[in-house]
Amino acid sequence: MNVHIASAVVLATACAAPLTGQEKPDQKIYRVFVACESADEVHRVAFDGQTAKVEKIIDVGYQPTEIEGPHGLTVGPEGKYWYLSIAHGKPFGLLYKYRTSDDALVGECELGMFPATMQISPATGLLYCVNFNLHGRMLPSSVSIVDPDAMVEVARTMTGAMPHGSRLTRDGRLHYSCAMMSGELYEIDATTFKVTRNMQLDIDLPKGHESEAKPTWIQPHPTQKKIYAALNGKATIVEVDTDEWLVTRRLACAKGPYNLDLTSTGKQLVVTYKTAGEIGIWDLEQGTESARFPSSRRVTHGVVISPDDRYAFVTAEGKNAEPGALDVVDLQQQRKVTTVAVGLQAGGIAFWQTAKL
């Protein structure tokens, strides 16, 4: 594994050196990891409230002449390790574990076909990663459950066709994912690894084994028993009451809602619109979209909100040789603050740290 410092890097990570000459004493640096799926790179980006820069580029994968497709990212609860899913191996994908202090690869584990999004449960300490399996026939796939200490898969739970959007409730007891091609929401008991419930998210049943709704993301509400789902094929955000296990709202939105994230209060929902190439900010109490603007590239992809609810970091893939981009959105001012070019097909994103200058 080759780790190299980007030639343009001027930042010293460890001492959190200033990005510009205009910092204020209370200024923070936010750091995120961005997976560049067609470059087999992960870019670590730092944002100081004004500008964002690529601090480091980490080459990933083990088959150098093939596009292996780094897709999902998450940072462990202690912040000591970050985890990356690699879509295509020989042929199964991999989960890699890197140390945040030096981005050294410290562990790996083979998962299923095209492992994608993932999260670590604070309750079990285990990592839950969907095996997206978008290759070939639309067959039921699974969620891999991994012990991140030993980097071994401890269980694999079958769900629907093309599961995506692997997310846990705040207490880490329940895992949710959506099956893109069977149009379903799946709930797994994170402590028993068993599917406890599932439901069809679309009004129409899938035809020809292919959901028209194509749900691509699930986001549990941080404080309420609600789930939000992006119906990519129907330009709709769906709200599910998990007590009643019913769809309670269907919110029409722009084309191709893809990934979601919620502020810690659950008041704001940020939506990436893959087809429209836009970013939307929703007021969930009102059920209205308060702002929408274009992302810096076509094919808007991932989003993560900083723990202080101030900024949303949004990836956009681009096309062909066009570099991907990371847009930073100020959620208070509801505008795009800055953007930085990253590697080809920027997709998965994870928040690492907020550091003081």
Partner: protein, 671 residues
């Protein structure tokens, strides 16, 4: 308090073979701020198939049980040791494994609870027998045969962790060395005793008098070229002068190379008498049978007295992106064309007019939604080109077909991505069908007789754990796929040998080698020997692949597999350039062309029989290092794929584009 009680249910086959001092000995994990987990028993020994129940409770920092705290169990080796979420353990395979018992805290402070680790030992099943397969009932005096012995358990599974020692009861009759080689010393009978895994087993070995009184060694010639395989023969006769058959003969040789300046080992001999020399010089072959022997000396001469070299004819530079595969063909207008792919870039395929290889002209570029166009192929009639896609923005990838009747103006006629969304890395066209790899998992066979509407008609996949495919080549109705650690697979897709067809591919045979680097394959029948070979190319980057700034030092070689007997393929030879790594290859006539990554283009003589390392035998005819000071990695050769065409050799180079070279006499003088 939630407490999982210790349950040693009578129906379970819990067999504590080596329990801790007491059955209920307990272990406490290292206390964390949130307390600890106590599990009993703290360690287990279970037989394969055995079951047990673990009991666990959560304690606070004061050692008091925590109310409403559950414990989650999971195994760190679930395919060898199963545990349910509430602690029932089942041993599946031998080994030493860990079960984690983790507290599930009844709070929402988003912290993971403390854990305890239970070590479970699952011993191998007891040894049941010692087997000596293929042990001969008799041997001749003065001859040596190898004996293989191993311990198996009650299921017949070899116990690879146990060794077997062999001894001879009567060492005057037969001796056994530490490597299992048995030598007959005098006529008689002895017991061969095998000991291992606390078991003993003996067989009777008869040693009979060696009837051979005279051995005459002969060779078909007394002068060979390096790399030529010749077979030495022996005539064995008894004391009466009658011919004797089926008595083992041991061959060896000594060498006196012409170059005496510290030259290394210089040849190879097989125990069927085949011999090949690597360096010019004198070789003395010795054949021994019992107490008789004979020797014969031959001379090996330099293989190519006349030097040849690859001369640069033309270069189509691609210096801003990496170039992938190529295909050269004669167009419908009689001119010659080439298409090359691009890697990690803009999704381009580049068309070239190569009619005059000294003036390679870039004539068109097509761009598809992709980052890598790894493979490009053109139909035999020169009208259809298909290219592969990886890194498409919509992740649908698949293939794209172009009408290249006018290569200066390629017209896109169709896209096909159904079930190829994971990315197509390689392609082939054969008799109206396209063979397209799907996400490294299988190849799909598409009917492209109407290229505007391809139809999937078949598919082939190696159904083995972790099987993965890299390339496919089709010739005479047989598909030769390269499957990394599962090696070469030969599949009837219309040849008829196994009744296969494109819609019903039927496996003919396969061959794998240990490195797992199998990346490419090229079939070839030798007109000299009528042997049928598949040349299997490696791909390996143990020292990484550098996309810019630094050169890459690949590894790997060409494995030459004799598939004359499709049921029993034998790897007989190799071509290995030191300190470099292979990629794609092509064979025409008796010549192999290898794109050898950092070692450039290599041209190799594969005439005659093949045995040993062709590189060391001096079979290499010529080489060429493509370099350009302004390429992505300046002056670093990285040859990707070769194709001979009308007297020239075209090849793509990852760093610098398309090249044309010609094999010519080397009249130059070198210092």
């Amino acid at each position: 308090m939630t407490r999982t009680r210790l349950l040693v249910a009578s129906f379970l086959t819990f067999l504590p073979i080596a329990l801790a001092p007491t059955l209920v000995a307990q272990i406490e994990s290292k206390p964390a701020a949130t307390g600890s987990v106590r599990v009993s028993p703290n360690e287990l020994t279970l037989p394969v198939g055995g079951k047990a129940q673990l009991d666990a409770e959560v304690l606070d920092v004061g050692g008091r049980p925590v109310a409403d705290a559950r414990v989650l169990f999971f195994s760190r080796a679930r395919r060898s040791l199963r545990v349910s979420s509430d602690g029932e353990v089942e041993a599946l395979k031998p080994g030493k494994f860990e079960i984690i018992a983790r507290a599930l805290l009844p709070n929402v402070d988003r912290r993971t609870g403390p854990s305890a680790t239970v070590t479970v030992t699952v011993p191998h099943p007891d040894p049941a027998a010692i087997e000596l397969p293929n042990a001969p009932p008799k041997i001749y005096t003065g001859t040596t045969v190898p004996l293989a012995a191993h311990v198996v358990d009650k299921n017949g599974t070899p116990r690879d962790d146990l060794t077997v020692a062999l001894t001879s009861a009567n060492r005057d009759v037969a001796a056994v060395d530490a490597f299992g080689l048995v030598t007959g010393l005098r006529p008689g009978s002895t017991k061969i005793l095998a000991k291992g895994g606390d078991l003993e087993h003996e067989i009777t070995l008869d040693v009979v008098a060696n009837p051979v009184a005279k051995l005459d060694l002969h060779a078909p010639t007394d002068t060979v070229r390096t790399g030529d395989v010749i077979t030495f023969g022996v005539k064995l006769t008894n004391a009466d002068g009658a011919a004797v058959w089926n008595v083992p003969v041991f061959y060896s040789f000594t060498a006196r190379p012409d170059d005496t300046l510290g030259n290394a080992a210089t040849g190879q001999i097989q125990q069927d008498g085949r011999f090949v020399a690597e360096k010019p010089g004198l070789y003395t072959i010795v054949a021994t049978c019992g107490n008789v022997s004979d020797r014969l000396t031959i001379r090996a001469t330099k293989r190519f007295p006349q030097k040849r070299k690859l001369e640069r004819v033309g270069h189509g530079p691609v210096l801003d992106v990496h170039t992938s595969d190529l295909w050269v063909w004669e167009g419908v207008d009689g001119r010659d064309y080439c298409v090359t792919g691009t890697w990690g870039a803009n999704g381009d395929a580049i068309f070239w007019d190569v009619t005059d290889p000294s003036k390679i002209e870039r004539i068109a570029t097509v761009t598809v939604d992709a980052r890598t166009v790894n493979d490009v192929k053109v139909s035999d009639d020169g009208r259809l080109c298909i290219i592969s896609r990886e890194g498409a923005s919509n992740r649908k990838n698949g293939i794209v077909a172009f009408d290249v009747s006018d290569p200066r103006n390629p017209q896109k006629i169709s896209e096909f991505d159904d079930q190829l969304t994971g990315g197509v890395h390689n392609l082939f066209i054969h008799e109206g069908y396209a063979y397209a790899l799907s996400a490294g998992r299988r190849y799909d066979i598409l009917d492209i007789k109407n290229p505007r509407a391809p139809i999937r008609v078949g598919s082939y996949q190696v159904f083995e754990p972790g099987a993965s495919i890299h390339d496919v080549w089709v010739e005479n109705g047989i598909a030769y796929s390269s499957n990394w650690r599962y090696g070469l697979h030969l599949v009837d897709v219309g040849n008829g040998i196994k009744g296969g067809s494109p819609s019903n591919p039927v496996k003919i045979g396969n061959y794998a080698y240990p490195s797992g680097w199998n990346h490419a394959a090229f079939p070839w029948r030798s007109k000299d020997t009528d042997k049928f070979y598949v040349f299997a190319g490696d791909e390996a980057f143990p020292y990484g692949l550098y996309t810019k700034d630094n050169p890459t030092y690949a590894r790997g070689w060409i494995h030459i597999v004799d598939f004359t007997d499709l049921e029993d393929p034998q790897e007989v030879a190799r071509y290995e350039v030191p300190e470099a790594g292979t990629h794609n290859l092509w064979i025409e006539g008796n010549t192999m062309y290898v794109a050898y990554y950092n070692a450039g283009l290599r041209v190799v003589d594969i005439s005659g029989d093949l045995m040993g390392d062709l590189y060391r035998q001096g079979r290499e005819i010529a080489w060429y290092l493509p370099t350009h000071p302004e390429s992505l990695v300046p002056n670093a050769p990285m040859a990707w794929g070769p194709q001979p065409h009308k007297g020239h050799i075209f090849f793509s180079d990852w760093n610098s584009g398309l090249w044309a070279v010609k094999l010519v006499e080397d009249k130059g003088r070198r210092r």
